[in-house]
Every structure is written in C-alpha cells, then in structure tokens.
Amino acid sequence: MLDELFRSIIDFVPSLTQVMGLSWLFAEGFCLVYVRWIYLRLESSPGRSNRFFLLFCVMIFISLVGISFFIAFLSHQQLGLTGGKRVVLYLNSTFWRFLCAAWVVVEGLILWYIIRITALFPGHGASPVLSATVILSLSGFLMFYLYFEYLFGLFSFQDVLGLSKLVNLSRFFIKISGFMWIFYEWAVAIKGLQFLRFLRASARERI
C-alpha cells in the first residue's frame, strides 16, 4: 500500500530538465517584475499598478508548475501503451519549447523596460531603432513559434516523421530561441554598460 502510494507520488515528479527550466523562468520573471516596477515608479504613473501584472505572472507560473506535474503523470501512464512514446515525446518537447519561447518573451520584455528606464534619464534617447527591433523580433518570433507548433503537431500525429526526426526538429526550434536569447542578453548588457558610463560621468560632474 505504502509502495503504491510512493509510486503514484513519483509519477507526478517532473524531470530535472523541467524543474530547472521552471526555476530559470521564475528567476527571469522575477527580474521582469522588478524592472517593470522600477520603470513605473521612476515614470511616476500612480494609475498603473504592478500588482495585477505580478498576479498575472504568478498565475501563469503556478499553471506551468501544475502542467509540468500533469505531463509527468501522463508520461508515466502513456509509456506502456502503443504509440505512447510518440505522445510522451510530444508532451515533453512541446512543454520544453513553450518554456524556451517564454524565456525569449520575458527577456525581450526585460530589454523593452530597460530601454524605457534609461530613456527617462537625460542624455539617453528612447532608442527608436532598438525599440522597433524588439517589437518586430518578438512578434516575428511568436508567429514562427505558433506556426512551428502547428506543424510539429501535424508531423507528430499524422506519422509524417519518425521519432528521431521529430527530436531533431524540436532541437532546431530550441536553437532558434538560443539566437534570440543571445541577441536580447547582449542588448541588455550593452544598454547596462551605457547606463553605468552615464552614472559614472554624472557622478564625476557633481564632484
């Protein structure tokens, strides 16, 4: 009885990959909520509250944690069935791709708010080219993501591709997301460097 209970609990435990993925999403979401809070306070917009945004992020995160438990459970149930491997691969890879896409969106939004924060200080422009690049790249990426998921679903359930080719395809999407992370992270690093230089220069002027 105790064995059975233990086994059914184990069935709900998500993989280490998913646990790490969710932790990284939590950390990035934390940074996003913080930079948005800083921006709203510096811009002094009392009408715009960070509370609803925070609640929205927390709800999405809790839902994702719940989904990861559900996927772990379904994966254990499906493994023994005919065609189960395909279903397990679809569930796990779709969830992982969703996390990758979510990191891209969160990092894009962090960059967006950092551009807005630095623009509030004199000497910093609104960086129209970078702002437009963020909007265009994020919308382009999201459209690609949705279309990719549609095709991946078709390839998975109409038996168009074998399992190893489906894995290759999923890995390809992860690498596309990787290029987006690199772009946003470098943009944030360079924006931060410019802001640090500005702070140092104005500190020297005041002396």
Binding site: L42, F121, K165, N168, I182, W186, L196
Partner: protein
Amino acid sequence: MMKHLLLGISRTFDYHAYMRLTRIQAIFWSLADIIMILVFLRIVELLLRKKGGRLSVWRYFFLLISALMTPMLLKAGSSRSFFLTEAAIFTIQYLLLIYTLIRDGRSVLDILILYRSGEREEDP
C-alpha cells in the same frame, strides 16, 4: 514552403550539429550573462555608495566562480553533462541576481528617484 524547409531540417539537423551549435551559442550567452550581471552589480554599487553603502566582495566572487565554470561547457561530452554544467552556472548567476534585487532593490529605486529629480532640477 516552411513545411518543406522544416522537413529538410528534421533530416539534417542531427544530435552532433545540435551540440556543436549549442556549444557556440553557450559561449555567446554566457559571456553576455557575465557582462550583464557584472554591470548590474557595478550600477548597484555605484548607487549604494551615494548613500554611504557598499556591496560585499563575495557577490563578485560568486560571479567569478560562474565565469570560471563557463569554459567547462566546451568540454562537456554529452548533452546531459552540458545541461548539468549550464544548470550550475545559471543557478549561481540567478541566485546572485535575485538576492541583490531582494536585498538592495528598494534602495536602488530610491536613489534612482533622487538621481532623476536632481537631474531634472539641473536641466535648464
């Protein structure tokens, strides 16, 4: 067209191509992460100094440890060992970021608000 492109990719983008590209990408994003967190810590330190505060050295020390671990990504033999190394690096860096935001986030905001109002007064 996209369907055919993806079908072609599914045939050619194998595990080895994936790992090669992953190693190259990892160096680029790790470098960006290290610079980003270093700049962030420097900004926090500069702002805290205005209030007579300081940033302890151990935060830079942990960032250095994560930076020293980065070349290990190139040597990781399998995707599993790569993932575990990446997980260790990210965990150190994210904990550092979150700790700094929780501990110094409000002070940084207060100083930035003062800073901005000062700049506005000086602005002709």
